[in-house]
Symmetry: C2
Subunit: 344 residues, 2 copies
C-alpha cells in the first residue's frame, strides 16, 4: 500500500495484534525507509516486513508517452498543478536493498518483478526472508528459481497495482485468487500468501482452505485510523462502487474504484511506469488536497465495500477469530447430518 495508506503506525498496530505488519518502501527515499523501519522497531519487538518495487526493465515508448502527457495538460490546469517530469528511474533500488540488508526486517517482499538470485542470497545472508509477488504460474516458477522463501499470490480481485513481473499492456482480467491458489498449490512447494478480496474472516478461512499459509490484507485496513488513506477516498470505500484496472494514473495496470480521471483517460493510457506515475503525481496530490475524488487514484480491491472503520488491531484480531469460527462451523456442517448453514 505504497503512496499513502501504509504508515509505520499501521504496521505497528498490525504487529501488536499478532499480524505481520508491512512497510511500503515504494515511492520513498532509502533514508525515509530506514527511518520507518527504526520507528516500527522502536515500538514493537514483533517481526515485520518491508515491500519493495523492483525497477522496470525498460523505459516507455517515447511517442506513446508524449501523446499521453499532452493529453493530461488540461488535467494539470484543472488541478492548478504542474505535470511532473516523465522520468524513468529505479525508485532508489540499490539504496533500498542496502537499507534492508542493514536494518534486517524479517521479510522483504517484492512487487513488479523478481530480484536476482544474488540479491536473494544477500538478503538471506542478512537474515531477511525474500517474498515475491506473483500473478501466474510462470512468475511463481521464476521466483522459486531465484530462491524466494514464499510467494505473495495476487488474485485479480486485489486493489492497487498488479504485482506481476511485466505489464504487457493486455486488458485481460487476470486470474482469480481461488484458481491461482489451487493451481500454485499443486505447482510449487513454497508457502503461499493470499492477496485479493480478503476483507473478513470468512475470506481468510477460504484462502487457508484453498492452500494459503496466510493472507496479505490491504483494502481491509484502509479505513483504520492508523492508515494514511486520503479522506476523499475513505468516503467512497464503503460504498458499492465498481472497480476496474487502469493505467491512467501510473502507466502500470492497477485496480481502483472507477472515477472521472479513470473513465476519461484509461482508454488512452499506455504502458509507461514509472514515467506516468511521475507525470501525474503532482495532479493527484493536488486532487487529494482538494478532496476531489474524481482526480486521483482510488486503489481498492473488489470486496472494498466490506471494509470497516475500526482500529487496525481490532480488524486483525476479529479477522483471525472469525476465520477460526467459520472453519469450525463449516467443518461441523459437513460432518454431521444436523447441519447448520455454511453461510457467514
Amino acid at each position: 500500500m505504497a503512496g499513502g495508506p501504509s504508515t509505520p503506525a499501521l504496521a505497528i498496530a498490525v504487529c501488536e495484534a499478532g499480524g505481520l505488519g508491512f512497510l511500503a518502501a515504494g515511492y520513498k527515499r532509502a533514508d525515509a525507509v530506514a527511518g520507518e523501519i527504526r520507528t516500527v522497531r522502536a515500538a514493537t519487538p514483533a517481526p515485520f516486513g518491508v515491500n519493495v518495487f523492483v525497477p522496470a526493465a525498460a523505459p516507455a515508448d517515447p511517442d506513446s508517452l508524449r501523446t499521453y502527457v499532452e493529453r493530461l495538460a488540461p488535467e494539470a490546469e484543472r488541478q492548478g498543478a504542474e505535470l511532473g517530469s516523465a522520468r524513468f528511474d529505479d525508485d532508489h533500488w540499490e539504496a533500498k536493498l542496502d537499507v534492508i540488508c542493514d536494518e534486517r526486517p524479517a521479510v522483504a517482499s517484492f512487487t513488479f518483478g523478481c530480484p536476482d538470485g544474488s540479491i536473494v542470497e544477500r538478503l538471506h545472508a542478512a537474515g531477511v526472508a525474500a517474498w515475491v509477488t506473483v500473478t501466474n504460474v510462470e512468475e511463481a516458477a521464476a521466483a522459486a528459481d531465484a530462491g524466494a522463501d514464499a510467494l505473495v499470490v495476487q488474485g485479480t480481485e486485489a486493489g492497487g497495482h498488479r504485482g506481476g513481473f511485466i505489464d504487457d499492456g493486455s486488458d485481460e482480467g487476470g486470474v482469480g485468487l481461488l484458481a491461482l491458489l489451487r493451481v500454485l498449490s499443486r505447482a510449487t512447494r513454497l508457502p503461499l500468501l493470499a492477496s485479493g478480496a480478503v476483507a473478513d474472516g470468512a475470506a481468510l478461512a477460504a484462502v487457508l482452505c484453498a492452500g494459503a499459509s496466510a493472507a496479505q490484507v490491504g483494502t481491509a485496513l484502509m479505513l483504520a485510523p492508523e492508515a494514511g488513506t486520503p479522506e476523499a477516498q475513505r468516503a467512497l470505500l464503503t460504498e458499492r462502487r465498481p472497480t476496474r484496472v487502469t493505467r491512467a494514473f501510473t502507466g502500470r495496470a492497477a485496480r481502483g474504484i472507477v472515477n472521472r480521471f479513470m473513465e476519461e483517460h484509461s482508454g488512452a493510457a499506455p504502458v509507461g511506469y514509472p514515467e506516468i506515475h511521475h507525470v501525474t503525481s503532482p495532479l493527484r496530490a493536488a486532487a487529494r488536497r482538494a478532496g476531489d475524488a474524481g482526480g486521483f487514484n482510488l486503489w481498492a480491491g473488489q470486496a472494498h465495500e466490506l471494509v470497516q472503520e475500526r482500529p487496525a488491531a481490532e480488524i486483525v484480531r476479529e479477522m483471525a477469530a472469525e476465520a477460526a469460527a467459520v472453519l469450525d462451523r463449516v467443518s461441523a456442517a459437513l460432518r454431521g447430518p444436523d447441519t447448520s448453514s455454511g453461510r457467514s
Copy 2:
C-alpha cells in the same frame, strides 16, 4: 455446459454420487430436453436440475454483425463448411418453460438473465425451484425481487459464457468468485451456489467458508467419460494454457482456452448473441469433427489444468471427501499451537 459436455449420462452419474446433476437445455429443442429429463428420471430417483438460457433482449447491431460475418468467410472455407444464418431467436424459450413445468425437475437454473416473477411463480406452482446465475450485486437483487430460490454466483474464473444478464461489450475482467461470494453473503439471504475454479475439494472447502451453500462444478467434470467433451478439447484441458474471455465464437462473452480462432477474431467480434453463435455453429462443428482445436470454442475455467480424467461419480465423491478433510485440517491448524500446514 450446453453445447456438448453436458449429457444425461453425466447428470445421472453426478446424481448417483450424491451431487445434484444438471441437464443443459441451451441450444436444444424442447422435445429433446423433455427426452433428456425422462432419461435421467428413468435412471435415478435423485433430484436433478435443468439449465435454461434466457433469451436476449434485442438483436445485434446489423452493421457490426454483417462486418463480422464477412470476416468469417475464410474460416468457413478453411473448415469446408457454410456459415450459419445470423438469426435472432429465443432458443425455444416458451416451449422449454412448458417442458419444465410439465416434467418438474427439482431445479430450473437460468443463465443470461432473470425470468419474470410470473415465470418464477409458475415454476413454484409446479414444484420447481428457480435459481438464477448472477455476476454482481445488482443482478442478485433483481433475482431476489423476481422470487429466485437461490443464486448461482459466477466468478470471473468460470469457464464458458458469462452468465450475467447483459453483455455490455465491456472487456473488464469481472469480479473474482471470492470477492463476489463475500459481498453477496452480506447483501442477500438467498443461498449461494459458487461457480468458477471449483476444481477440487480444497476449492470446495474454500467456497463453503466464503459463504456458499454448495458449488456448481463445470470444467472439473469435462474429462469424465460421461461428458460429451470433444476429443480435441480433452487433449488440451490438462495442459497449462491460458484462458481468456472472448465473443469471437458466439457474440457473447465466454471464457475458453486461447486458440487460433480466438486470437484472430476476438478483437473484431461484436456483441451479437445468439446471431454469431448460429453463424459459427457449422464451422465449429466441422472443426470438432476434424479434431482442429484451433477452430472451435474450448470453454474452460481458469483452474482447468487441475481437471482429472475419472468417472464423474469418483470426481464428485472425492471432491466432497477432500473438502471435509481440508476443513478439518485447517480448522485444527488454526486451533492448536501444534499446527500443521494449511496446504493441500
